[in-house]
Symmetry: C2
Subunit: 235 residues, 2 copies
């Protein structure tokens, strides 16, 4: 909890470049541009906390936001990462509940804030936008169900392999086949739903099996087909 969580962000943001706003009319985008407030957040700062009231939603313009729940013993469970173009916080606005997750910046991030009233106004006035957001939510729900099944049925080893592949899909590899996102071992553990030590050990095993190469937090995928096999990932 630092004092300065965010600073104003003055550069121009083109909201229309984000898929979710594609269905808005010119006037609606214009209005949105007037209303939104953009801020720059640095690593570690909290956007909102589980249990707090959220009065609006944020669109991620740039950067990465970690969305997680805190288990009753204080352990984090990472639900997802939001990146450029993703909306965060809207779930609570729409269901009118307290935030059920915490959003924490893990890479310097630019966020634009859209007040809840503006969001609901758009949803009411523009059914296409409403459908787009609904589609998004439904997709997320589908993913959540899949993830649930995996955690319930797969071994830690399988889940770790799967998480690496998921990170590849979400954040791409660089020319060197290295994951663009770098997470701590603890964060990986909090995605997989296991202990940090287990992740460390399994990563070493994967390395020994020539599936990956490790360089600090950088993970290079050496053998993706085999990772798919290890993770029992069916596409």
């Amino acid at each position: 909890m630092k004092n300065q969580q965010s600073v104003p962000y003055t550069e121009d943001v083109d909201l229309l470049s984000f898929d979710i706003f594609k269905s808005l009319t010119e006037e609606e985008v214009e209005e949105l541009n007037q209303i939104t407030i953009c801020t720059l957040h640095k690593r570690g700062s909290i956007v909102y906390n589980e249990g707090s009231r959220i009065n609006g939603t944020y669109i991620v313009v740039k950067g990465i936001v970690k969305i997680y729940k805190t288990g009753f013993d204080g352990k984090e469970q990472i639900i997802r990462f939001a990146k450029t173009g993703d909306l965060i916080g809207f779930r609570s606005v729409i269901s009118n509940e307290l935030a059920c997750t915490t959003a924490k910046i893990i890479d310097e991030t630019v966020l634009c804030y859209i007040p809840g009233e503006e969001l609901t106004k758009l949803l009411k006035e523009n059914s296409e936008f409403a459908m787009a957001l609904m589609k998004l939510t439904c997709k997320e729900l589908g993913e959540a169900n899949k993830f649930l099944t995996d955690i319930a049925q797969k071994t830690v080893r399988e889940r770790l392999a799967e998480v690496l592949l998921l990170l590849m899909d979400e954040f791409e590899l660089d020319e060197d086949n290295t994951l663009q996102i770098s997470l701590t071992r603890e964060e990986l553990a909090n995605m997989v739903g296991t202990a940090t030590e287990s992740v460390i050990r399994l990563l070493s095993e994967f390395k020994a099996d020539k599936l990956i190469e490790l360089n600090g937090r950088k993970i290079k995928l050496l053998n993706i087909p085999k990772l798919i096999k290890v993770g029992n990932v069916y596409i």
Copy 2:
């Protein structure tokens, strides 16, 4: 896979009695009544299968439907139970994806089918209805996230206690404090995300600890406060 999965259901159904349709106008309900086709399904029949294309949604008029995913080794993971007033299948219609779950009848059930076009038409024309459905989806998403965290972090014992309490909330107790829904041990295991034998053993332990009383598939909750404690359930 029996030949006769369902038979027509002729009795009158009052769609307006379901919360989700409360926001519809009289004409919309009238139209819906014209269009919907109601059917009676018996225990064990499949409403739709994971991976199949769904062209519409069903409202549960009466009965209980088990919604589950099948893990890669064939093991079921129960996502939720749908009961009177719940919509099933709409997720796939809206996200325009194949069904990501299977819906199976576990108690004689009456379903009314609403074609996808009718659903999307209502969503487009009636923003209040759209908001209601969105609210529902967002709530489900919140629950899915909570469940995910529990499965990832809690012990099987804790989860079983929690599932019993969840079933109490969803299906109520009779005057005798007995759960109104009766599931097989395997189904309980598929909710908790564990092996059937583990559920059997843990239920015996709960019984020995005077938390519950067992009578076939009927489970009587003897000490709810202690169950809450065992499950680390915070409300």
